[in-house]
């Protein structure tokens, strides 16, 4: 695990070439009160970077600072080597806040057309996006009449009006039903093959599923920036479900939790040996999974 001034890894050839995000000693906040302190990192590889942290840690402030909405009180944010406050930098960014940001008085199509004008996109793009996110039937409805999930979908639709190199998505799947959340995640995953995506979420399983890197913020400071696969919890607990649970002797060293028999191992390397041992004792394993999520420890 690494923290402090870090790079996300080696630069790779991609469509984001030259659109590195460099955050150098950034302190930021609201009206003199400091929320973020001395944040430094560099991102130059297309991937999903999951931003995690407890409530009030400064995740939204980090997104707002990276998007150029808040000005750092110290340090600088550079997009492709240019300060984020400059329009040329902003033109490479898409930002989705945890608020929907669409006026109630507008119909869905009008709202998207409004943002298309702001982004200098075409009306044709509005039709394309309506179709892409399967919200054509909502086009003529007032935004205020939509459900929370439908609002979120419209809010996210904005980022597909124009292609950008960097996407800052603050809790994009909050309030969505599981099916829609999965669809949105799939869209974002496809996007991340060529683009840099910063993604905040309180759903640790979602974070682990889609993220390649984790940026953990704690009390306004960068607590961790590393590849998720490098994360190791202080405890590695596996749970197994078996087809023949009537073999108590073989499972004596396990604790029971619902259908699962749990055991703490030194690490993932010990899993093959465990399976071999169970097989030798006649235990037929139906499923084995890691029971604790190392990302949980970032919240404690």
């Amino acid at each position: 695990m690494r923290s402090g001034a870090l790079s996300s890894g080696p630069s790779s050839s991609s469509s984001t070439d030259g659109f590195r995000i460099a955050c150098r000693g950034v302190s930021s906040g609201y009206l003199g009160s400091k929320v973020l302190e001395d944040i430094s990192f560099t991102i130059d590889e297309p991937a999903i970077y999951v931003v995690l942290g407890p409530n009030g840690a400064g995740k939204t402030t980090l997104f707002r600072t990276l998007a150029g909405i808040l000005r750092p009180s110290r340090g600088e944010v550079l997009i492709g080597g240019v300060e984020v406050d400059r329009q040329v930098s902003r033109d490479h960014l898409h930002y989705v806040s945890h608020m929907d940001g669409i006026p109630d008085g507008l119909r869905v199509r009008e709202a998207l057309e409004f943002y298309a004008r702001v982004e200098r996109a075409e009306t044709l793009d509005v039709d394309r996006v309506l179709k892409m996110l399967e919200i054509e039937e909502l086009a003529d409805r007032y935004f205020s009449q939509l459900s929370a999930g439908q609002r979120k979908r419209v809010s996210i639709a904005r980022v597909f009006l124009r292609e950008r190199e960097i996407y800052l998505l603050d809790e994009p799947t909050a309030n969505l039903d599981p099916k829609l959340a999965r669809e949105i995640r799939e869209v974002i995953l496809r996007l991340s093959q060529q683009k840099i995506v910063l993604y905040s979420s309180h759903n640790l399983f979602e974070a682990r599923e889609i993220g390649r890197y984790v940026i953990a913020i704690r009390a306004g400071k960068l607590a961790l920036f590393d590849r998720i696969e490098n994360l190791r919890g202080s405890h590695f607990v596996v749970g197994i479900r078996v087809l023949n649970p009537e073999v108590p002797a073989a499972l004596a060293n396990f604790t029971r939790q619902g259908d699962y028999f749990l055991r703490e191992l030194p690490g993932p390397d010990a899993v093959p040996a465990l399976l071999h041992e169970l097989d030798a004792q006649g235990v037929r394993v139906r499923e084995l999974r890691e029971m604790n999520n190392p990302l949980e420890e970032l919240f404690t």
């Binding site: 006026p103 109630d104 982004e119």
Partner: protein, 199 residues
């Protein structure tokens, strides 16, 4: 509008005296719509998106002010058109003093009071956590907006016809001056953080 219609058909000086004094009050109330939009858009995070796309916070502030002025122009324009049309229709003339009062008092007071009320409202709303009803900035804002007009109306009545003119002119100068001061302090009173929705 109702008062304008009633005053239009009343013979004598009442039309020329009262309508110019009432016009700023009607206009200011009409301009409150811009503040409603401002408050709603701020709470919903619309400004956050606009700033992220490169719209300067000052432009947002000036656009809301411009919207209030546009609404005020519509309300005052419609009121004057109906009142003057009716007045001429029933056969009463439009005295020169009425035109003078509209140009020298009503219009500057309307725009000054609306600018004062909208600027103060934006500063105030962005300082407050969302509240509903009369206790909210939006509930109290119309009272701030109409206060200059109403107070001038009362003071002019107490001061009498000659002194009343000076009272009205003094009030116009004061309100316009205050509105300009608030406008000049925009960057200090309204930093970009105040346009953001609560995190």
């Amino acid at each position: 509008m109702f008062y304008a219609i009633v005053l239009s058909v009343v013979p004598g000086e009442t039309f020329s005296t009262l309508l110019p004094l009432l016009l700023p009050i009607m206009g200011t109330i009409g301009g409150i719509g811009a503040m409603l939009v401002f408050t709603n858009d701020r709470t919903k995070g619309v400004f956050e998106y606009l700033i992220a796309y490169g719209v300067p916070p000052r432009q947002i502030f000036l656009n809301v002010l411009g919207a209030a002025m546009a609404l005020l122009t519509v309300v005052n324009g419609a009121t004057l058109a109906v009142a003057v049309g009716l007045r001429l229709g029933v056969g009463y003339g439009i005295p020169l003093v009425f035109v003078e009062r509209i140009l020298v008092y009503s219009l500057p007071m309307s725009y000054g009071a609306a600018a004062l009320c909208t600027s103060a409202g934006m500063y105030w709303t962005s300082l407050s956590s969302p509240r509903q009803g009369m206790n909210s900035p939006l509930g109290l804002l119309p009272l701030i907006g109409v206060a200059p007009g109403v107070l001038t109306l009362l003071a002019a009545e107490v001061a009498g016809p000659t002194l009343g003119t000076y009272v009205a002119l003094g009030a116009v100068v004061l309100v316009v001056l205050l509105a300009l001061i608030l406008l000049a302090l925009e960057s200090r009173l309204m930093p970009r953080e105040r346009l953001l929705s609560p995190a």
